[in-house]
Each structure stands twice: as structure tokens, then as C-alpha cells.
Symmetry: C2
């Protein structure tokens, strides 16, 4: 089982330097804002996104200041969307910390997100990183479109498999793709290589989201992470979509009604879990995830050998093997 | 009394064309999103911001495609911040319409705002409007900083006059300044002229916000607009700040306690209104507003004569004379 601790040393120096620069880029002259960004920095996650920017740069050339800026822009953006997501999902905890809107209310969460976004923009604009901006703005647009599409479909409790792929391609895979593409861009790669790295990232992002959706069914996860959150929020992910497709008209209707009216009751969630498992939904989603992973690996295998390439392969492995 | 209907004909053709392009720029492939943006277009306000972009361009040269893009970027951005403000202020009505978050919940409002922002970005990036982007990103950063500063100060119910100016310079004047600067930029003006137009816009924006704050005290407004909203939300604007400064220690304490504990009761609001009026707070704020207006007009008077200049003067007049 690959861990991030094995991968990190390959770009350890860069990540340390990045941390310093990233913290610096968040400084403001509003004390409340500094208090919040300090808190945000503390609660940060695995930092897979900056890792991907650095690995993708190392894979294609020599990391430089543009690489740091790409990583900082994407991390600022990712942090902004997490803060906005806190409002979006009415979440009160994230990674064991209280969310910003639980501590400071929705209005502060929205404004802090906007502030981080504008800091990221200015960082790119003032360094004339225009191609980077184009890659990243496209990702932002896709992310909000994907979330809105999901909300729309959620309301109708009727998502086709293809629609699910479209949603996760937008809401998750586009930012992972932007990481990989912008890393390659930062070391001066041609449009073709940048496009190829985008595609590798997109495939990896699809696998990442499928893993997330599987973890929500408790599939392959270690103890401690809440499960059933998606069903509680009436979000339909691939395991459920597949299980419903494999069901009779009446069975489908019965399950949909449960989700519609009783999705917060533990025994109902358990019944739906068993239904999904019995219909092969978990297996199917896992198989799909591994297909995406395999495609990403095949594309990556064309690239020249280096320590970055091995580490990149390991990240792809980690994304689908992680337990939380 | 100047009305916008007198000013509009000077750039009528451009504004009509702009409307078409603006609607087009909002189109998406998410039905829910299209429904919401259609609704947003219907509820739009006076369109002072695009007017300023066009007038500032006309004043300095020949309007062109860049001018339209500047107007569209700023209007997308302004619409995005209004949608986010709906969450921010927990407002349920705006301009007689329900707010997006009242109709579709906070999460949709946040995402729609992010979507509009990214559309604006892409419009600028894909047309290589990089200086425009720099002007506008600075404004976005200032706007969110200003709002956060206001929230921080609101909590303490202790704002000095200088801090009030800093807040409104950030949260309101920076975007008006960006309108004027980007209009001049779009017709190829030098850095000096762009800077000068920024300053004129900033002064006008200060006057605009002071007028808004006065209208909230019912000062000079026609019937129909709710008053006392700022006090209800414990926001301190110049009339109150000045009145408190002119008060004894005990009087000040009494009023602050009222705001802290009973700011939503109609008789308390009336008492505070009378206090502000008696202390000369309204007069002082009006005088300050007229000072900003005068400075803006003096700076503008240096510019070459044209129909755009006269219309621009009229907009400055309108901003401080409007009744709602």
C-alpha cells in the first residue's frame, strides 16, 4: 500500500518552500481575515494538488518560479472552493475541524472564499501567467457547473450513468487536470504535452471521485470517517445509480421513495447500503475506478523515466488505494 | 434633478448592443443555471457600472470591442458579488425580487456567483485582456477585504471615521473606480490617464456609498425603500459615527447599548434616527458626500469637452441626487 509519506521526499524541498510562499500569499491587512486564513492553513488536507503540480513539472522539465505560482494559484483556488463548499453543503465539520461558516457564519465564508480567489488571480495576473489563468479559469467554471448540475439532478433523483460521469468530470476531475496541465505549462512544454497532462489528470480525477464515492459506502475505508453522507444529502453516486439500473420498476420506485422521504434514518441508510451491495453497485464502481486508473497509467507510461514519473505513478496508486 | 433617462441616449446604441452580448455571455449547458441567470438579468438595476465604462471610454477615445468586454466583465463580476451578497447579508429580497438564496438556497447562490466570476475571467483571459484583469482582480480583492473589515468592526461597534472611509473605499468605490479605469484602458489610454480615471471613479464611488448610507436614514429618499436596515444589522455608517463622536461618554454608551441589544425594535430605531439627526450626523455626511462629488467634478473638468463628458458630469450629479 503506497503512502504519501513515500512520495513526498521526491519533491520535499519544493513542498517546504511552497508552504512558506503559500502562507505569505495569504497575508492581508484585515485582522479577522488573517485569523481565518491561519485557521485554514492549519486544517489543510493531504496537499495532493500542489504535489501534482510539482511532479508534473518535474516530469517534463526543471521546476521554477512559475511552478510555485501555479501550485499557489491552484491551492488558493482549492481552498476558496472548500470554504465555499462549507456553505454549499451546510457542513459544520471538515477534516475534524469546524468549518468556517460554523465558526464565523455563511457571510464570512463567502467573502473569505472570494478574497482567496482574488489573491490567486492577482498572483497570476501580476506575474503575467496568462496561459495558467486560462487553464485555471476553465477549471473554476467547470467546477461550479458540475456542482450546479449535481444539485439539479439531485432534486429529481434521476441520474443516468453518463450524467454522473459528466458531473464528476466537471466538479472534481477538472481541477486535478488543471494541476497536471499547469505543472507541465510552467516548465515550457508544448500545447500537446500540456493537453496530454490535462488528460492524465482528468482520468486520475475521475478515479479520485469514484474512490470518494466508494468510501462513502464504507467500502475499503478505515475506521472513523462518517459514511452515508451522500444518501443523507440525496446525492446519487455510481454505486447507487448502477444498482437502480439493475432493479425492477417497483424495486427502483421503493428505493427512490426511501431516499426522498427517509434518507436521514440510520436503518433506511443501512437498507439502501445492502441493496447497493447486493445489486453489485460497489463492485461495478470499483471496476470503473480501476479502468480510469489504468488509462491514466497507460498514458503516463509514455513519458520519459525519472524519479518524478515513479512518484506520479505512486500518486495515482494512492488515490485509489487510500483509506480515507 | 438629473435622471438616467437623460444620460442614457448618449450611449444608447452601445448599451443596447451590450445587453445582447451580456445575455449571451451568461449562457451555459446547465438548465438550472440558465433559469437563474435569466432571473438575474430580469432583476438587474440601474446599470450605472456599464454606463460608466462606456462613458469613460467615449471620453477618452473611440469605443471598441475591448470596451464591451470590460463592461461585460465588470457587470458579470458585479452580478456575482450581488448574488454572494445575498448570502452575505441573509437578504431575502433585492429590488423587489426575491434573492437567489431565498429561492434556491445558499448553496446555489454561492455556486452561481462563482460561475459568473469564472465566465467573466474566461471572457477576459481568452481575449488576452490582461491589464483589464489586473484592474478588476484588484477591485475584487478590495471588495472582499472591505466587507470583511466591516464585519469585524461591526462586531465591536467601534468604528473611527477614517476606518469608515477605508471600508467604503474598498467595498464600493474600488469597483466604480475599476469601471472608469477600464473604460479608459479599453481605448488605449496611457497609464496616467487610466490612473486619473481610477481616481475620479473612486471619488464618485465614495459619494455613491455616502448617498446609500444617507438613504438608509430616509434622508432625501422617495417613498417605498426600507429604512433603518443598517442599524438593524448593526452596521455603523458616517451619520451615526459622527453623531457618536459628538456625544458625551454616557450618551455614547447608552446608544451603543441600544444598538447592541435592541437594534431591531422600531421605536429604538426611531430614537437612534432622532439622535443622529440632532447631533448633525446627517448634515455632516451630506457635506462629506458633496465634498467627494466636488473633487470628482474638478478632476473631470480637466478632460476635453464632449457629449460624454457632459453625460459623465450628469452621472456624478445623479449618484448624489437619486432618491433610491
Amino acid at each position: 500500500m503506497v503512502t504519501l509519506d513515500e512520495i513526498r521526499p521526491v519533491i520535499g524541498k519544493e513542498l517546504d518552500e511552497f508552504e512558506l510562499r503559500f502562507k505569505d500569499s495569504m497575508k492581508s491587512n484585515v485582522p479577522l481575515l488573517d485569523k481565518i486564513t491561519y485557521y485554514l492553513i492549519k486544517r489543510r488536507g493531504k496537499q495532493i494538488r500542489p504535489m501534482l503540480v510539482f511532479l508534473s513539472a518535474g516530469l517534463n522539465g526543471k521546476m521554477n518560479d512559475s511552478t510555485y505560482r501555479a501550485a499557489a494559484l491552484i491551492e488558493l483556488l482549492h481552498t476558496a472552493t472548500l470554504v465555499h463548499d462549507d456553505v454549499v453543503d451546510e457542513t459544520y465539520r471538515r477534516r475534524g475541524f469546524f468549518s468556517i461558516n460554523a465558526l464565523w457564519k455563511n457571510k464570512v465564508a463567502v467573502l473569505v472564499g472570494d478574497y482567496l480567489l482574488s489573491r490567486g488571480l492577482l498572483l497570476a495576473v501580476s506575474n503575467k501567467e496568462f496561459q495558467l489563468l486560462e487553464i485555471v479559469s476553465k477549471a473554476v467554471q467547470k467546477m461550479s457547473e458540475g456542482e450546479l448540475l449535481q444539485i439539479e439532478k439531485t432534486r429529481k433523483l434521476n441520474i443516468a450513468e453518463e450524467e454522473y460521469y459528466e458531473i464528476i468530470a466537471c466538479k472534481t476531475a477538472s481541477l486535478v487536470a488543471a494541476c497536471c496541465a499547469s505543472g507541465a505549462l510552467s516548465v515550457g512544454m508544448s500545447e500537446d504535452v500540456v493537453k496530454k497532462m490535462w488528460e492524465i489528470g482528468e482520468l486520475m480525477g475521475m478515479a479520485f471521485q469514484l474512490k470518494d464515492d466508494l468510501l462513502d459506502y464504507g467500502s475499503g475505508q478505515d475506521i472513523g470517517k462518517p459514511i452515508g453522507t451522500d444518501i443523507k444529502e440525496k446525492k446519487m453516486s455510481l454505486p447507487l445509480i448502477y444498482a437502480l439500473k439493475e432493479s425492477s420498476y417497483f424495486e427502483k420506485k421503493r428505493i427512490i421513495n426511501m431516499i426522498k422521504n427517509q434518507s436521514k434514518e440510520p436503518e433506511i441508510i443501512e437498507e439502501i447500503f445492502n441493496f447497493v451491495k447486493d445489486k453489485g453497485g460497489l463492485e461495478y464502481a470499483k471496476k470503473t475506478m480501476l479502468d480510469y486508473r489504468e488509462k491514466a497509467k497507460v498514458m503516463l507510461s509514455d513519458m520519459p523515466e525519472s524519479q518524478y514519473k515513479s512518484a506520479f505513478m505512486n500518486v495515482i496508486e494512492f488515490v485509489t488505494e487510500r483509506k480515507n
